[in-house]
């Protein structure tokens, strides 16, 4: 699989710095899982974080900080931060033509719901972040999503098939980031369905009342 569209540097850096919201973070996790090139880029940005930490002027610690830490270590487990990472699979997930990304294993994914002719969506609930607006779209061959723009930021990871929104073609493995400067109408290629994972911060702004109704039905 040749990936042609990758997350941009600023987004990757925000991930490494820990300043991304949970939904956007999940989208990057899914992309990284399938993209060796971006895993390498992320390794560099994490190393940059390490160098940044290493070169910071030290702050003064309380006089008995080390003793306290050693005492906590001797007291054994019990730290909140120690909760195991989301390895449990939450409920049944709907069928996908590809394997579910491991990064989504802790997510709750609802059944496919009809949102228009040949168009289905479902809600993805990110662990511990129920307010994150993450959803999946399954759009039939040749179908067009309603034209829209974005109040803030929309991330899309293509899981299956391909679409073209006039800016470029996006295929399985590709990643896209759009904001208020982009007004687009993603159109699925004629040779098969397209399935995408999307995370929206802010809202989508649809053109036309029918599209707005459709947007409202998926909580946008």
């Amino acid at each position: 699989m040749r990936i042609r569209h990758h997350p941009d540097d600023a987004l990757m850096l925000a991930y490494a710095a820990g300043s991304l919201g949970a939904g956007h973070r999940l989208l990057l996790d899914v992309h990284l899982e399938g993209c060796a090139a971006c895993r390498q880029r992320m390794a560099q940005l994490n190393a940059l974080g390490g160098v940044m930490l290493d070169e910071l002027p030290p702050a003064e610690l309380s006089p008995h900080a080390l003793e306290r830490v050693l005492a906590r270590i001797d007291a054994g487990p019990g730290s909140l931060a120690d909760a195991p990472r989301t390895s449990t699979v939450v409920g049944e997930k709907p069928w996908l033509p590809v394997a579910w990304p491991a990064a989504m294993s802790g997510c709750e994914v609802g059944p496919w719901r009809w949102m228009g002719p040949g168009m289905y969506w479902n809600r993805v609930v990110v662990p511990d972040a129920p307010q994150a607006k993450v959803f999946m779209l399954r759009i039939g061959a040749g179908r067009m999503l309603p034209q829209h723009t974005h109040s803030q930021s929309e991330l899309t990871q293509v899981l299956w098939g391909a679409f073209d929104d006039g800016r470029s073609e996006f295929r399985a493995g590709d990643f896209d980031e759009t904001d208020g400067s982009v007004r687009h109408q993603p159109t699925v290629q004629p040779n098969g369905d397209c399935i995408c994972l999307a995370s929206v911060e802010g809202t989508l702004r649809f053109d036309g009342w029918l599209a707005r109704l459709m947007g409202a039905s998926i909580g946008m």
Binding site: A17, S19, A47, G50
Partner: protein
Amino acid sequence: MSPDIPEHAPEPDLLNHLLVCVGSKSDRQAFAALFKHFAPRIKSYLMRSGSSESQAEEFAQEAMVNVWKKAAGFDPAEAAASTWIFAIARNLRIDHFRRLGNRMEQIASDPHEDALAGAEDPEPTPEEQLFGAQCERAVRSAMAALPPEQQLVLRLSFYEEHPHARIAAELGLPLGTVKSRVRLALNQLRRRLDGMQP
């Protein structure tokens, strides 16, 4: 045998070695040396990221407890000690905001886990990739070669939830300019790193 605790800032290779000693034989002297170097810097990082002094102290201590507990999983071939410990401190911060019901909720995976995730995409080949101490060294020297204002922009990018606003305030730049400055700095960094690929 425990490694000596140096008075000056320890070399990255020594820090890696200390962390391996903590992981493989619960070496307290090695842990004390790591603590001495990293705990004050973690506190500094968290204070710059908006934590109060007492909260940063508490986080720094908790981060070091996590370093002890997770040290057995540290592999210097995958990430340098500073990279690995940075990820622990960062994840603690994300986790804290999650508990506060903020937007930054999900606990991130460690950088070495990212590196190990299934490799569906065949490129770049493993020989072209830089991980672990090699990656850290390359990033450190590429960073050092950047103009000071670009180094500053990158450093500030790590500090808080809204780094762009912080950078704008600190450098007296319009907010709109900051994003392009960050991109420019990352571009320069990448250019230098690409020149160093084996």
